[in-house]
Amino acid sequence: MSDRALTRILVVLPMYGGSLPVGRYCAKALAGLGHLVEVFEAPDFFGAFSALKNLRVTAQRLDYLEHAFLQTVSQAILAKVETFEPDLVLAMAQAPVSRQALKRLRRDGVATAMWFVEDHQVFTYWQAFAPYYDFFAVIQKEPFVSRLAQAGVENVLYLPMAADPDIHRPLDLTPAERRLYGSDLSFVGAGYPNRRMAFRELFGFDLKIWGSDWDGEVILAPRIQLGGRRVSTEESVKIFGATKVNLNLHSGLDPAVLAPPGDFVNPRTFELAMCGAFQLVSGRELLPEVFAPGEVAVFTDINGLKEAAAHYLAHPEERAAMAARARTRALADHTYGARMQTLLDFVAARRPGFGKGVRREAGMADLPAGLRAELAGLLGELGLPGDAGFADVVTAVRSRQGRLTELETAILFLDEWRKQYGGR
């Protein structure tokens, strides 16, 4: 165990939305890479924020209150930064970090990064916020990259979506689960207009539709499962595994364009691949960069979808081989761990001294040998790598919930004692 402190990363989650699970996957992956990670749980604030909307006050007053509330949340993030002293603040799209807070972090020399896992043409607010981040990772290329440069964003990184192999993995399903979750074709996701129109064309197939926002859909109503409620991640993994052909139709708002052209590859593509599940995915400009033709089956229009579905239903061995190749590729290239490593390498290459800071509390070499040995035994339990410093151990222990063990308390006490009496 050396004196070197770990790289500290504060992951700021959004209060809700699609970026929320991605942020959690990132935090887990960063910890898995051996960094010291804390998470700002913005969802915990959402209840209070929602309460403002039930006030029945003037719109002007509600605007003011919501703004003031978000400023308070931003202040909480700054306080967290002050205490945790991260090397990097990684925010997900919609994370409640105000521009004022971002300015403050820049002034204080704290690196900030945003992983914008949204479509920039749909979610256009990036224009106001992107320039305040030191690093801006995106799931699209041109023209987004050029537009970011025009906005003054210097460090832009193309960082496609990914999947978590601990969550998205092949499962051994019981016969009952196969009956419940299985079908020839299935789709998991929200009822966007293009999907509604496309799936009406599949009346000849054994199709199950899972997910929310299918209200008012009469023709497809018999196919919609669980009353159209949102399915959990655990349920979706079972559905992927039990389905012969998983449909992955990227969303589109125009019902006339069933397979919308687009560039970015959605997270479902990576999740299905990581599960070892066979998928028929709508074509995307950036898809060939992440999966080769033999790894996923692609369609570009409704006829292609129907033909491919019929073909692969008739050839289970082709499905199995393709799904296996997709999983191998996903495990090799498309984990959140790989994405986070790419992001950190990008930051390190552009920020001299990144992650090399020596903290006041670091100083393992001064500790008694017996204590160093005890700490080494605790590292695995705390999820820390072998080269963690004393300050990292203290931080990890401090974040534990409930009653601590006598060893953990002794570590906190020793840390406070050194601080109180002038130790390094």
């Binding site: 001064d366 500790l367 406070e416």
Partner: protein, 430 residues
């Protein structure tokens, strides 16, 4: 039997000032069940704690700092501190129903992590977040108005308990014991002590007043030069009566010595609190940052000379910009006459003589000489605190101005009878 732990990691004086809390938590609870009281202190004080508080289970750990500057990085010192783990293991296994953490320090908060968050009171941390209960949070606000406030530290800590033992039951009534006059040469803070040339004439006057035949000089070995200087200041006939005990008494010896004295001359020190604990009359000199309404001797029958200059009480850490005007007052010739018991002498302007008494809230200093410039404000303050703590039978409530000054929105919105020991979120208004 229900177990209660009190964590007091500070120095000797603070340990003794914890007495009223220890007596209070030992009171039978609402169900009539007695409590088994445990006390955690620095190991250097645990044997004294056993001596002072029979019936209390005392535990010691390594909390105080190293003797030498920079010693906080000494591996041997770190090993001693880490060895606290065995004490933590012992405490963790004792299943305390309530744990009071009195010190606003990271050390106390670290200790709090051993226990279930529902059991801890005072200063603690939960999931890494330092917190304090509403009562210490309120009391911290009093520190911004020290001159007008007046709550003894022992009473502040006693109020951590759901019910406080009566203040006149804490210490014996002060009475001479026949062993002469004890003189404490200095406290930990030099600025709060009187130099020998000022202290010696006052002590000599007291000797003549009480007709004692022995002067015991008390202090550490480092204060031996001050003891010699003190002796040189005395008339030769008195110098022969001096017993220089500096550096010659351990804690138990100090207890024995002070318990037999007729009176103790002292600045604000641990020895002063020890004398009050033992019922030995105290004559204390308070100046600089020392304020008798906060840390004066506990119990009835003690005397305090408080320098109440407009700048008092000052901040210990801030340099004095007033030429130590508070110290100069003690060199006034009138002080010698007062020490000799003259009823005609008046103290110099800015000096106030107090005698200690008790009221419903706790110990209170009442002036008998000089002009007490903050008496009215303190009386109102004490009424406010007594009402807050629910200990003012027949007393007058404080005016609304103090509530407006000291209560915050968080008190009003979040604290519901937390002083009664319950969960503020679950208690209902009756």
């Amino acid at each position: 039997m229900k177990r209660v732990l009190v964590v007091q990691l500070a120095r000797l004086g603070d340990l003794i000032q914890t007495k009223r809390l220890l007596l209070s938590v030992a009171l039978a609870d609402a169900d009539g069940d007695a409590c088994e009281v445990h006390l955690l202190t620095d190991a250097s004080l645990s044997s004294l704690a056993r001596l002072l508080f029979p019936g209390v289970e005392c535990h010691g750990l390594c909390a105080h700092g190293p003797a030498s500057p920079g010693g906080a990085d000494d591996p041997a010192a770190l090993a001693r501190v880490f060895a606290n783990r065995t004490v933590f293991a012992e405490l963790s296994g004792l299943d305390f129903a309530r744990v009071y953490l009195l010190n606003h320090s990271g050390l106390a908060r670290a200790v709090s992590t051993l226990f279930s968050p529902e059991t801890v009171r005072g200063h603690f941390q939960v999931s890494g977040q330092p917190q304090k209960d509403p009562w210490p949070a309120l009391a911290f606000r009093f520190a911004a108005a020290r001159r007008e406030a007046g709550l003894n530290l022992a009473d502040y800590w006693a109020a951590f308990a759901p019910r406080m033992v009566a203040p006149d039951l804490v210490n014996p009534l002060a009475a001479p014991k026949g062993g002469g006059l004890g003189v404490v040469l200095a406290g930990r803070e030099a600025r709060r002590s009187l130099p020998p040339e000022i202290l010696a004439p006052l002590a000599a006057a007291a000797v003549s007043r009480h007709a004692v035949r022995r002067i015991a000089l008390l202090g550490t070995a480092a204060q031996a030069p001050a003891a010699r200087a003190f002796r040189r200041q005395l008339h030769p006939s008195l110098a022969g009566q001096v017993a220089d005990l500096t550096g010659k008494t351990d804690m138990a010896g100090l207890v024995r010595e002070i318990s037999g004295l007729d009176a103790l001359f002292t600045p604000d020190t641990g020895a002063m609190h020890l004398a009050a604990h033992l019922g030995t009359p105290v004559t204390a000199f308070f100046l600089s940052s020392a304020w008798c309404h906060e840390t004066g001797p506990y119990g009835e029958g003690h005397t305090v000379w408080q320098a109440a200059t407009p700048c008092a009480p000052c901040l210990e850490s801030a340099p004095c910009g007033q030429g130590m005007a508070c110290l100069t007052l003690f060199a006034d010739p009138a002080m010698v006459r007062l020490a000799a018991g003259s009823g005609k002498a008046a103290p110099p302007a800015g000096m106030v003589g107090f005698r200690t008494e008790t009221d419903a809230l706790g110990v209170v200093c009442r002036s008998f000489a000089g002009e007490d410039p903050t008496a009215g404000a303190r009386a109102a303050f004490r009424a406010f605190v007594a009402e807050h703590l629910g200990v003012m039978p027949g007393g007058r409530p404080g005016g609304p101005a103090l509530g407006d000054r000291f209560y915050l929105e968080t008190d009003w919105m979040l604290d519901r009878f937390s002083r009664l020991g319950g969960n503020p979120q679950k208690m209902e208004t009756t």
